[in-house]
Amino acid sequence: MPTDATTPTADDLTRRSAAELATALAAGEVSSVEVTRAHLDRIAAVDGGERGVHAFLHVAAEAALAAAGAVDTARAAGEELPPLAGVPVAVKDVMTTVGMPTTCGSRILSGWVPPYDATVVRRLRDARLVILGKTNMDEFAMGSSTEHSAYGPTRNPWDLDRIPGGSGGGSAAAVAAFEAPLATGTDTGGSIRQPAAVTGTVGVKPTYGGVSRYGIVAMASSLDQPGPCGRTVLDTALLHEVMAGYDPMDSTSLTDPVPPVVEAARQGDVAGMRIAVVRELSGDGYQDGVRARFSEAVDALVDAGAKVVEVSCPSFTAALGAYYLIMPSEVSSNLARFDAMRYGLRVPPEGVADPTAEQVMCATRAAGFGAEVKRRIILGTYALSSGYYDAYYGSAQKVRTLIQRDFAAAFAEADVVVSPTAPTTAFRLGEKLDDPLAMYLNDVATIPVNLAGLPGMSLPAGLADEDGLPVGLQIVAPARADDRLYRVGAALERVLLARWGGPLLDRAPALATAEVTR
């Protein structure tokens, strides 16, 4: 079919960046309803069915079109609108949303519609973004593959038989499959960055406290941090700016002004910057193709004017251990709220006439939680028990101090620290499901960043030779210096895009419509 050059086709609209869409919307070249409809059509074409991407748990088509229509009306009336007004966004299902279910990928919250919006969601609505729906995730954000979702896994748009990462695999896959230009995520041990790495997209975990946790169903409160997902560094910065900022409803929210992330993403200059490579995060256990693309990306940063130093962070070898004590401990406490009394599932125990509240609680939690959630609650209960507390939880908190010291030493020599985001490319669905420890190891490079509360970004570094799948590079900055991620990320992105001759996602084989439609 011949296309009219002056009328954008639906395919064009879904392939545009959020920044491009914002410009076209502001100039009146396209309406938000057209943009929203194009993305809803794309979701309908690629998300459902046996072999669909399954990035979404809930698509709010009607509400999205209404919000888009309201933006178009306001614009036509000459109203001053925020920069991303009318641009669609997908929301991770761990964030509460009025009028849309919030399940956290769990059976225990099946069908629950919260009575209030998370602060992040409120900010998206205030900035007039159009919420397309809620994205799939590992149950309560516990996992690295989305296979722990009670509603079935999300598939990686690069290869439908592979995992899209986790826990935010739905958000990353939605962005990678052009179902949404932007999405929100949460990152406790890598849940934004590892999915970004394995889907060839960009994801940022801000400094702890940079984005409000109010209304985000808690997993591990001292580690959880919401952040943006997108296809470009600039898009991610634009969403970061909308999401971030002080919130009196979150007592751990930072009062500092939001770092100048958008300005940094537009500049993207690394001349004279010092970049540290961590010896402990690139050797054994890292796939050949991951190491090759990582070291080429570091060379590209040198070409762009950066200086590279090697640093050692010896305590990182204990980070995974510390994380798998601290996180489950906090999980066991946070998930106590699912008690079958005030909201969510209530299952009566079998064969008990007139059961007690406690019996109902035990039966409901047995039926409502999946295996990984149960495993972590029990592990946390163990780590916090008297007699084991000092040896496990207490020691893990000390390791946290050592990791902070290692990062502080690295930042004495460098402005940012870089590493591969994940040791491997996307593994196959089912491959690590029976081996929890193997699954945990995929987060070995992202976990130290959460333990130290630092900001981190993952962006595409290329495709591994052995499997043709995306490799992510992680950038870590000191606390409150989130803008450095965007400065370095944008510089690297520019060099790599020139080298590749266009976005990496243009080369994703499974993204061709024929492959993803059932």
């Binding site: 919260p114 009575p115 204990a318 007690t356 035990c362 149960k374 495993r375 209960t381 000390k398 946290r400």
Partner: protein, 98 residues
């Protein structure tokens, strides 16, 4: 290997208020043993002289002005309740029969 017995898992499950089936107890005991082995390395590096960190970004005495403002209505608060009656959560009995 850090052995964790089936009985210990059953006790922890009771504390966590999760009914576990017999086969879940066995699997969980095995898996927790493997995980605890892997995490035990924290004890080697966490020496006496290292202080603990409970929170990544130090914050003290966080308060906000105590200003009354509207909260959820009873209807909103009860909107997700498994059972409600007379504007209250209706729950199973909390006492054992005597």
């Amino acid at each position: 290997m850090s052995a964790i017995s089936r009985e210990e898992v059953a006790h922890l499950a009771m504390l966590a208020r999760i009914d576990l089936a017999p086969e879940e107890l066995d699997l969980m005991a095995d898996q927790l043993g493997v995980i605890l082995d892997a995490v035990a390395q924290v004890q080697k590096v966490a020496t006496e002289d290292v202080p603990a960190t409970s929170h990544p970004i130090p914050l003290t005495n966080v308060t906000r002005p105590d200003v009354p403002r509207p909260g959820l209505t009873a209807e909103e608060a009860l909107s997700g309740a498994p059972a409600a009656e007379d504007q209250r959560f209706r729950v199973p009995r909390i006492l054992e029969e005597d």
